[in-house]
Symmetry: C2
Subunit: 413 residues, 2 copies
Amino acid sequence: MNEDAPKPLSTEPYKGVRDFYPEDMFVQNYIFDTMRSVVEGFGYQEYGASILEPTELYRAKSSEEIVNEQTYSFKDRGDRDVTLRPEMTPTVARMVAHKRRLLVFPLRWYSIPNVFRYEQPQRGRLREHFQLNVDLFGADSIEADVEIIHIAHSLLKAFGATDTDFKIKINDRQSTLMGLREKNLTPQQEKLALQLLDKKSKLTQDEFKTEARKIFNDSSELEFKESDTVKTALADLRARGISNVIFDSSIVRGFDYYTGLVFEIFDTNPENRRSLMAGGRYDNLTANFGGEPVPAVGFGAGDVTMRNFLETRNLLPEWKPSTEICIATIGNTNVAANDLAQALRKNGLNVSVNVTDKKVGDQIKIADKQKIPFVLVLGEDEVKKKIFIIKELETGKETKCSSPEEIAKLIKK
Amino acid sequence: MNEDAPKPLSTEPYKGVRDFYPEDMFVQNYIFDTMRSVVEGFGYQEYGASILEPTELYRAKSSEEIVNEQTYSFKDRGDRDVTLRPEMTPTVARMVAHKRRLLVFPLRWYSIPNVFRYEQPQRGRLREHFQLNVDLFGADSIEADVEIIHIAHSLLKAFGATDTDFKIKINDRQSTLMGLREKNLTPQQEKLALQLLDKKSKLTQDEFKTEARKIFNDSSELEFKESDTVKTALADLRARGISNVIFDSSIVRGFDYYTGLVFEIFDTNPENRRSLMAGGRYDNLTANFGGEPVPAVGFGAGDVTMRNFLETRNLLPEWKPSTEICIATIGNTNVAANDLAQALRKNGLNVSVNVTDKKVGDQIKIADKQKIPFVLVLGEDEVKKKIFIIKELETGKETKCSSPEEIAKLIKK
C-alpha cells in the first residue's frame, strides 16, 4: 500500500441509525404508505417541518425532562442553540400557534417525521426513528379523543393485525393525578409515582410493589377510579365496533403536557412490552406561545416498534423491485432499445435498458438476480420485424408481442 | 400577566429552514411523486439513510473543501464527531462499498434526502433542502452517462417544462483539467481557475475576464476542446430526441470527486442563474473505503430551485385537500355518522366526521373554508330512511344517494 494513501474509511453508518437498502426502503415505504392511506381516510392532511428546531422550544415546562437529557443539541456557527427534534408535538404546536388566526379549526393534521434521541441503541429503540404523528386541533369534545383512538385501531387493522394481536389501554390522566393527590405525597414522591406508573407495563407485579414501597411505604397497586370521560370513551369506542379496549389507571404517559384522556396500545405478545402507539389530549401546549390555548388530541406511532410487531406476525409484504421489465441488447440496438423503453414508459411500465457490453446471457442473469420479473431481448432482427418476445423469468414462459401497448397489457396482468 | 409565567416562546422555525403547512406539503409531495415516478420509470430503486454521518466521511480528499467549511458538525454525548450530511453522494458510496460483494451490478438507485449546509439563507439556498439523487453504479460505458442525463431531461419534461425552458450543458472534466495543465499553472492557480470556471455562469463575460486576469495574467475565455466522450454523448443524446444540450468546457462541478463527463442544467430565464440539476461520473469515490473502486455516474436535483423554476413558469398544481367529503351531523347521529364514514372509507373515500357541537350551518362553512368538495348532512331522518343528500359545495348541486357505493361513485366521478 502506498504510504501516502489514507486509511480506508469505515462503511458503517453512525451508531444507532439505519441505512435503508432498497429492500429496507420497500418495507419502510409500505409502512408509510399504509399510514398515509388510513389517516387520510379519516380526513387528515399531511404537514412537515425541519428536524432543526431552536433548543428553546424544548425548554418549555410542558416537555418531559428525560427528553432534554437525551436530545442532540449543539450551537450552530452563529452561536444559536439548535436541537434535532426529539418528538414532533412541540413543532406542530408551534406551527399551529404561528398561524392560529388563519387556520380553520377543527384541524386534522398528520406527519411522519424522523426524530432523534441520544440513548443506548437496543431492540425497538434507535437514535433516529420515524414516528407517525396524528393530531386534531380545535375540538375539545370526547368525540375527538375517540376519533384519534379509532384511527390508531384502524391502522393496526389495515396492517392485517387482528383484535387479539393488540390491546388498547385508556385512562383519564386527571383522575390518576387526583388519586395520587389524595395520598398526600410530596411533589417529589408524586413525580416518582408517575414515573413508576409510566413503566408499570414493563415490570412484574412484584417488581412494581417493591418500587412503590421504596417511594412512599405503600405497596398498593396504585389503582384509581374510572372517570366519566373514560366511561363515555369506552362506550363510544365499543359503539364503533372496537372491543379490545380497556381502562387502566396506570396509563399516565411520560409527557407532562397531557391534560385529559391518554392511551397506549400494546402488543399482546408478552415478549414485546413496549407500547406500539400512544397519545392523548394536550389542551394547553399552544399556550406556551402566548394567546389562548387551542385544545388538541393526538397520537404517535413509531416505525421501529411497528416494524418489529409486523415482522413477528409475518405481516410484511415480500420485497420486489419497482422495475417491471429489462431490455437486454444484442448488437447495435441501443437507440432502438431506448426508443422502445420510452414507448413502454409512456404505457406506465418501469423499464431498465442494458448499458453494459456483457453477453446477453449475463444480462438476463443480472435481471434475474435483481428479481426483475420480465426480460425482452432486442437484436437487430427484432428491431426490423417489430416482433418482441417477452420472457417471464420465474416461469420461463415466453409471449410474442408486436407493440408497446401489447407488452404493457401483458405485464400489467 | 402572572409574574411567574414564562415569556411566550417564538413560533418561528429555526433560521433558514422551512415549515411545511399542508399547502406546502402538497407541492412538496407533488414534486417528490413526480421525481419518483420518472426515475422508477428508468428502473431505479429507492434507498435511504440517516442524516447523521460520522464526520470522518467528509474528511476524504474527494470532498469539496467548501462543504467542510459549511457543515453542521458537532460532538455527540459520547464524544463522537457527527455531521448532518451536506450531500448524499458520500453516503451512497459508503453504502455501496459496504455491500459491494452482495449487490448485483449495474445498480440503479435513487433517494430524495434532506441535506444541510450552514450558509446565509437566500433565494434558492436554504440551510436544509431536499435533493433527488439518482446514481448508476457498476457501469463505465458512455451509455450509462447518457442514461443519467436522459433521466434529468425527462424529469423536467414530466413537470411540464419545454425544451426552450432549460438548457443542458455538458463537458468532459478531464479535458478541461488537461487544458489547464498545458497552461503551466501552479497547483494553487489551477485550483482557483477551476473555482472560477465553476461560477462562470453566474458572472458576466467582463467579470469573468477580470477574475481570470487576477489569477494568472490571462484574460482568455478559458475554453477547451470537445473530447471524444463529449462528442459521443452529444450524438447519443440527440439520437434520443434531446436537442437542448450543448458542449461547454467551463462546466467542471465543485466536487473534486468527478472523473469524467459532467453536466449542469440551467433555466433559460436569465434571472435564475443557479443550476437546476447537475451531476457526472465519479469512478473513484468508493475506493476511499478500500478495495476496487466501483464506477459510478449520477446527478442531483434540489427541491428549492426546482420549486422556484416551476413556480415562475406556473407549472405547479393548485392545492386541494385529500379529504373528499365531510359528514355534518344534526341531533344524536354520531354513531350512525361514523358507521357511514367507515362504509365510505371501505369504498375508497377520505371522509371527515363532525366532532364539534357547532350548528350544521357552521359545520358546512368550515368544510367549505377547508375546501372539502362535498358535504353530507346526517339527521335522524336520513339515518332512518337511508336517503343521503350529497352537496357539492362549489356548485351547490345536490344529489340523492341511497348507499355508500352510490356516494363513492358520485364523488370519484
